[in-house]
Symmetry: C2
Subunit: 331 residues, 2 copies
DNA sequence: TTGTAAGCGTTATCAC
DNA sequence: GTGATAACGCTTACAA
């Protein structure tokens, strides 16, 4: 506090914190303080403040890939929402790497962020449970771990998978391939289960070699599509489990000179700004990204502001089917 | 420091900071300290550390729109690069709003970030100059302000605009419309100037009513395209000054049932993952996003680490023309 | 209505 | 080899 100019120290603090009323500080003094603060371009040191108050008004955000528009959209909303409540965001990209994620968690803890929002990667979750049980505010987004008590905001991926498959089936498709992301991850598993359920309900036999892939990346979509179309019996439709995967599929299709939907139909998870403008406007399963972001911040804030003793707050949002032109009616 | 367990305080600090050697602390003590730290899950408090050392190992990043893949890509690289050097990123989305940007600058300063990376919006820059001249490390990305001494990393937008127009001209186009972003902003101005220069060199008269638009948004691209095609003499080609604008153009074209490149040719600024997979694979002017991010961090770090007294470090990167199928040879 | 002083968790300086 | 102690800039009892 560089202003022992006239009067002194704690009075200043009080004025600057709007506690003038409370302490019945004279109008006069208030004005002088405020003016001096202006003149000296005084900016409070949040570090010292944080140290004393044991809070930083900062929340950590860990996501697998900020360049993926799906996460970028969520991050945008999170940032807006957080800042409107007076919080800053420390952005961390885990690069789809679980070890990195664990390291980040510790680093953020050491940074004394008030809470952490994380879209976890990989299959382990003990580090998250440990953190949560230690009382640190954490909210999981995008994924969740069943049978583990952890607060989360996610999409109903089972329903999404089910809707996608049902849509294809109702258009006459029976040989529906599925190019998946990380096999063990919960969103992936749920989407697959939704897909399987739809097949089952319609008495369509499952063909194991139509469920392929191992990553949410474009490359995976590309490679698996090439492989799929080297089978003796090629699929009539593909269900892509992420936006990046469907981009890879389209790339492969162009190279093989296959037309969508004439040669095969396509439904993809994740709506994107360009979805409607692709060679063939794509039918997608959209997640409520903005809502995920908004809720994530609000739920986290409830944990930060204390209270929240009971069961973890968990929210599952409906997915939305956007019908466009990448699905052909067959038979 | 919760470890006055056996021996005491500063010794512990020394061990934990790897200064054991330097202070010739006994092997024995070292081990005990390290072990205790483990057991107690001790995490150093960066706030206190920052307060004492007057640095936070944090850098502020202000961008206009993290949901725009162009910025998301840059942000990704910045985050990676920064963290590899031991810095965290505080992400701020200014929402293309200059007032917000000014506010953010102050907030970040108050947070004691070690430096700021900013992709500014709007036309004013006094707040940036003030900050820089006060000695605070700042590096501008994406845009720059000529005639103002400020460090920046940007693309050679003039060259990009020139290349785009020249490419179109060499394919026989003469009526080339230009849907621009924010008219006064430097990247926009440079791109337009590049375009004008190409026209001039080829003795093509400038038609003012072909240079339209006022925002880097999709909506602007859409609206202006509709307007452009309601002119008596419609253009044979459009040069879009951003990725979002070209998406809007495509949307309008679909609605008007115009084919690209049969009915008009298109070149767009900004390469995107989907550029090659659109209805017509799009010819783009690509910026070296990753390189921008890498350099931005490295330059900023030079300012943070002191030195850097002379002229501001300024770097302008070449743009790249990706020829695809959205341009038709005419005449 | 205003001032004094303790303390948040570190690191640095100096002493032993 | 190790331990006190001051200081970083702030908030907040407690005094005056």
């Amino acid at each position: 506090l560089a202003e022992s100019l006239k009067l002194s120290i704690s009075t200043v603090s009080r004025v600057l914190n709007g506690k003038a009323e409370e302490f019945r500080i004279s109008e006069d003094t208030q004005k002088r303080v405020l003016k001096a603060a202006q003149d000296y371009r005084y900016t409070p040191n949040s570090l010292a403040r944080g140290l004393k108050l044991d809070k930083t008004d900062t929340i950590g955000l860990i996501i697998p890939d900020i360049a993926n528009p799906f996460f970028a959209d969520i991050a945008k909303r999170i940032e807006q929402e957080a800042r409107s409540k007076g919080y800053f965001i420390i952005l961390c990209d885990s690069g789809e790497n679980q070890e990195e994620e664990v390291k980040l968690l510790h680093l953020l803890e050491s940074r004394k962020v008030d809470g952490i929002l994380i879209a976890p990667v990989g299959l382990r979750f003990d580090h998250l449970v440990e953190l949560y049980e230690s009382g640190y505010p954490v909210v999981i987004i995008d994924r969740y771990f069943p049978a583990v008590r952890l607060p989360y905001i996610t999409t109903d991926n089972f329903q999404g998978g089910f809707d996608a498959a049902r849509h294809l089936i109702s258009n006459g498709h029976k040989r529906i391939a599925c190019i998946q992301g990380i096999p063990g991850s919960q969103p992936n598993r749920d989407r697959i289960n939704g897909y399987l359920e739809a097949l089952k309900k319609n008495r369509i036999p499952v063909e194991e070699d139509l469920i392929v892939g191992d990553s949410f990346s474009e490359e995976n979509g590309y490679v698996q599509t090439r492989l799929l179309f080297s089978l003796k019996k090629t699929p009539t439709a593909i269900f892509a489990l992420s936006n990046l995967i469907s981009l890879g599929i389209i790339k492969a299709a162009m190279e093989m000179e296959l037309k969508i939907p004439e040669d095969f139909s396509l439904v993809s998870f994740d709506e994107q700004p360009y979805s409607a403008y692709l060679g063939t406007p794509m039918t997608t399963i959209e997640q409520q990204k903005s809502e995920i972001g908004r809720l994530a911040v609000n739920v986290l804030l409830r944990y930060i502001q204390g209270g929240e003793n009971g069961n973890p707050i968990s929210i599952m949002l409906k997915s939305i089917l956007n019908e466009r032109k990448s699905v052909k009616k067959i038979l």
